[in-house]
Amino acid sequence: MKRNLFTVLLLLSVGIALPGMWRVILAPKEISYVQEENANQTDGEGEIPPEENPLQEENSLQEETGEQKQESEGAEAEKDFTSVDTSYWSDALFIGDSRTVGLSEYADLGEADVFAYSGMSVYTVFQVELEAGQSGKQTLEELLTEREYGKIYIMMGINELGYDYNATVKKYQELVERIHELQPQAILFLEANLHVTKKKSDSERIYNNPSIDRINQAIEELADNKIYFYIDVNELFDDGQGNLDVSYTADEAHVLGKHYVEWAEWLLKKGIVS
């Protein structure tokens, strides 16, 4: 018995776990399918798969909020983009996921603060504690009450693609509104999510370009060109067909380190000066 103790313990534990493991292994596809269906239903137009008609669907939903914005901020005039240099970022804050991490590591963002980590999403952005400002680890809320920023860049939405679409849009909107509440003087740059390559897009059920376009579209709807500005870096890295050009990437989803430099230069052409 003692010589075969491992056999006994392993088989015993496997035997106990087996029913549960089978449920997990043999069911996952079904579960994801149900989730997807639910997402479609809550879109309001269950019959139209989001991949086929991503734009039409949320227009009606988003117009409303867009109008609200225009009403409340109606007094101010719209502003245009101008070229600036990195000193522009001395009072800037970047919030985002791994793409923002990449920017902060491989490009020169001047003296900007960066509140970003790989895997950041609108669902976690108020929960995580990160080292962004001068006071060590803190939450976004703490950071935003501690210091006044002139501009805040937000790039998120791709890690959220597995979640319910409407819930994500709502969360994103809440995030943007909360930031504006805490930093009423700041300009908010709402950045489009970078596409993935065609190869990746075609093979991914969740992280594909139609889904990215869909969330980007919703983000664009929030822009009013007075406080909220939408900028879309895909014009810089696209292959002409709405995919990330393969020559810019090794993992099909992030640009190579050196291209973050171009990305930052592009951002500098999109300055808003009052």
Partner: protein, 450 residues
Amino acid sequence: MVFSSLEFIFVFLTVFLLIYYITPEKGKNLVLLLGSLLFYSYGSYRQPAHILLMIFSILINYLTGRLIDGKRNPRERRKWLAVGLIYNFTWLFLFKLPMTGWTLPIGISFYTFQMVSYLADVYWRRVRAEDSIVRLGVYLCMFPQLIAGPIVSYRKIASSLRKRKVTADGIEWGLRTFVIGLGMKVLLANQLGKLWNDVNTIGYESISTQLAWLGILGFSLQIYFDFYGYSLMAMGLGKLMGFQLPVNFKHPYMALTMTEFFRKWHITLGNWFREYVYIPLGGSRAGTLKMIRNTVIVWLFTGIWHGSSWNFVLWGMFLCLLILIEKAGLSKLLNRFPLIGHAYMCIMIPVSWLIFAVTDLGQLKIYLYKLFPFLGEAGEALFLQDYLKYGKIYGVSLILGLIFVTRLPAKLYRRHQNKLLVVLILLAVFWLSVYCLYIGMDDPFLYFRF
């Protein structure tokens, strides 16, 4: 279906072993053959032609083996051997040729070599041709070694194909070996592989020299634990059915010379090349010039066997050159002064794996310049503290990896293997691996993050 997947462990293997153990002695080989074909079909269901090719190859090699064995006339025997060799190598060649653009059938590099060794051994009268097609089928495609070896020679397991015994101790050993291999693959190789991915994501031009070394160290450890882990899992699975599959790795990273390294790395492949290429060509007995020629041929084919892009040829030739230089006298020095030997291998192992890993020759040059900045300029490191960041993320995996390439863990294991603590550690390794596989599968947000 890879061994390190929940589907394999909890569905295929569990059900298969239950059926296998309750089947009477006579039917076990048939169950194993059908199970292996099912296992193969699961991995190749998109290419039904690959499954047919496998079955067809079993038939052809069965017949060819019988023909070689049955003839007395040496010319006839040679003719049928040639037919068999041409048949087997043509498929391998066609599938490996980049021009055809065909998908490589899973395991073809391994099973082709097994078939060739079988025919050659029958031809040399080292063994009689197998008279049961089921047994030959089991030899050629039994699932433990179908995908990634070890490359087993027929004459070494011919007797086990007829009669083998499963004992409680054998099962204990098999399960332990499988779990150790699983842990190497899931807990070490998979984690270390992410570091190499990160380095590729950044692009070689933009990394620091420190990160370049860290990255290739990560790759070197990954490829070892990946392959060694897989070989151990294969051995363990074989033992569960009463087969003793050969050892494929013996602490290669402790070697003092490249020559020694490849006697300890993927041993069954090295043995195959020695037995069926190097020695038939005359080995080292026919003078220095012929020895050099034979060594070059072996390494050229070893390179091509691993992949069909130019870097694999370069990799083979690089190793060939080192081995010839060592033969010319360097190995005496390296063996006499182990410190120098280890230092030499600390450079040569990563550099050789780099040539292996980077298929684009331009990129390879950039990476080499990053490793050795005195060679030339290869783009500016844009994020100077990158190695600190990745060192922090992968430090534990790297250190564990470095510990597990030494002989110490195996030594400690052998001494204490019957202690309760060791049993509990192995149990923890198994369930931790399962947990890692589970989050990799079920949680795309953890597995695939932006």
